[in-house]
Amino acid sequence: MLKKIKISFIGLTTIVFVMSFATKLFSIELNMYYPVAVGGPLTKIVDGMVNDFERKNPDVKVNAIYAGNYNDARIKALAALKSGKPAQLSVMFSIDIYELIEQDAIVPFDDLVTSYEDKAWLYSFYPTLMENGVTDGKVWGIPFQRSTIVMYYNKDLFRKAGLNPNKPPNTWNELVSYGKKIKSSTNSWGVMIPSTGYPYWMFGALTMQNDQVLMNGDGNVTYFDHPNVVGALQFWHDLGNKHKVMPSGTIEWGTLRKNFLEGKTAIMWHSTGNLTTVKKNAKFDFGVAMLPASKRRGTPTGGGNFYIFKKSSEAEKKASMRLIKFMTSPEQAAHWSMATGYMGVSPASYQTSALTNYVKQFPPALVARDQLNYATAELSTFQTGRVRKLLDDAIQSALTGNKTPKSALKGAQKNAEKLLKRYK
């Protein structure tokens, strides 16, 4: 036994030694932090893509570091800048842009693209996905793990309730009336919209459907107390408290997928990033649809963008560009989309044969992309952490019945104005 331990110890030290030596052989080493906020073995998929890149670019070594959720990834990447092992690029929340600019942490991609070809590349992505990455007329973030909110629904439960399984609710009214039917004829809830984790994101969909965005393009004005925004929160509140098609109180983001898979709710709103996991685990016939409309359809985009840090050498920036280009190339984007459910970030990715075949067999994979036509940017402002929390708290206080939607949102707007005053 002791001998075994000894041998494995020697083995371990040799490996460590060889590894530390091997890294010296690469001319450039990149550290990249990235988050995961949906289910499934996403770290393995990222690692696989990075390995592919390394095989094709033997002079670059990439350490892809999984850092937790979006918040953790930003904290860790920024923290790393001050440590002995700084990151040169990272995938971070698309809405972190103002905060990162204010910290003077990132560089715009416009400064890095020189050739005509590169400039064209900047315009190869879906314009809606670029919205959160552009400010001051410059591109700061390149879309990577991007999503919209979609409606997953349990067709079996629809059938049980006497509803057409191929006709998911198209409007808020239908959502309520279908929900009531389901609630009364089955043992399940009509709909669940998660309200922990990222409540402001779900809310961005409801407000957009009510034809109102949450903030301006410069990130220094919010519209939390706009009547349409209040109306959206009132509707969300009513789903649970008046129409009773949804549990009252907040609904946990993390456990919701399990609730859906267990058939406890006929409909859930969730990130399209969960699609592949739901597909793998659902024991019933399920469908994916666009979110219903009030005045119009709508959803915020969501997810992570690539950023390049200022504190890196020219060579490292160039290598980072190569990595980002690889990771967002049509083939890789297609692969990523199929593996996770996130959308292909460029129109070209949907023209790859792999993704074309995939969506032919599995049409739900197209819903997120089609919904881009109705999509808007995700809530992102200066002081984004605090402003977000203001809105999150307002939403939760309304859903838990502590404040009326109007007073909650009024308070949030007032405080947001206080925070954003100095950015005008």
């Binding site: 550290n31 932090y33 995961v36 906020a37 949906v38 289910g39 499934g40 073995p41 996403l42 770290t43 393995k44 350490n63 570091i65 999984y66 850092a67 937790g68 959720n69 953790d72 860790k76 923290a79 790393a80 001050k82 440590s83 002995g84 092992k85 984790g197 946990e252 983001w253 993390g254 456990t255 997928r257 399990k258 267990e262 969960n274 996991t277 685990n281 024991k283």
Partner: protein, 271 residues
């Protein structure tokens, strides 16, 4: 007598009910970890057993590395604590020097101001020392422990001075005296303190979360937290397997040396 017997059975009953309740989270973790995912929330005696969850957890996150990091952190803290606290405790127990009382009081302040509370400033200090994201940085704030100094000082004080004199006559110098007289006689204290320290730092979360960035330094708790973060959609089977993996050394040690563990905690607390 009859009344006594009745009391007795009520006592027995409630003791066991309470015990069952107390152990239920662990029982559930075993259930979820050893059964396929579809049985994670359905309890069925006929559910098939599997090790799949352990394999998957082990493959999805670098737990081996996390184990290694935790081991390094815990053992480096322990060794440093033993050395630093022994020296200081000896001085406080046996030397009558100027300012000793005030100094001792100053040191005891740390019992209230634990490093967790000072995460913000300590993080800045680590940045200045260039120790962010290092194993050493995780352990450093804990290496001088007021609790350890206090505990050892109390023990050293009970050791007869004649033993020290005798060693001195035999020609022992300061470190010789410490190693030959004090340390051996304070063995129970070291064991007690060591167990308390190990289980504290094996489980410590907030400071390691703040100070570590990468897989190379992350201890088990932080690795487990980001692995099982509810944001990524809860999969209780795999999380339970990962949880059991990461607590297994401590749990195994506890089950095997239950008496020592409990006596150590008792001993460390009563002093």
């Amino acid at each position: 007598m009859k009344k006594y017997f009745k009391n007795f059975s009520i006592e027995l009953f409630s003791a066991w009910i309470l015990a069952l309740f107390w152990i239920s989270p662990l029982l559930y973790a075993f259930w979820a970890a050893f059964h396929p995912n579809e049985y994670a929330i359905h309890f069925n005696v006929l559910a098939p057993l599997t090790l799949e969850n352990f394999i998957e957890a082990w493959e999805q996150a670098p737990f081996a590395r996390y184990f290694f990091n935790t081991f390094l952190i815990v053992s480096s803290i322990l060794i440093a604590q033993f050395i630093v606290c022994t020296l200081a405790a000896y001085a406080f127990a046996r030397y009558n020097f100027y300012g000793s009382n005030i100094l001792f009081a100053i040191i005891l302040i740390q019992l209230m101001i634990v490093p967790e509370v000072l995460i913000v400033e300590n993080y800045k200090i680590m940045t200045n020392l260039n120790l962010v994201d290092t194993i050493f940085g995780v352990g450093l704030p804990y290496m001088a422990s007021a609790f350890g100094i206090f505990l050892l000082r109390q023990t050293f004080k009970t050791i007869p001075k004649e033993l020290e004199e005798a060693a001195r006559v035999e020609g022992c110098k300061l470190f010789g005296i410490l190693l030959k007289v004090y340390v051996p006689l304070a063995k129970p204290t070291y064991l007690a303190y060591g167990l308390v320290s190990v289980s504290y730092h094996w489980n410590n979360f907030l400071w390691p979360l703040v100070i570590t960035n990468s897989v190379d330094t992350r201890p088990l708790t932080v690795g487990l937290a980001i692995f099982g973060a509810p944001e990524s959609g809860v999969n209780w089977s795999i999380i339970s397997a990962a949880t059991l993996l990461s607590i297994s050394p401590l749990l195994l040690g506890f089950i095997l040396f239950q008496k020592q563990f409990i006596q150590s905690f008792m001993y460390a607390g009563i002093k």
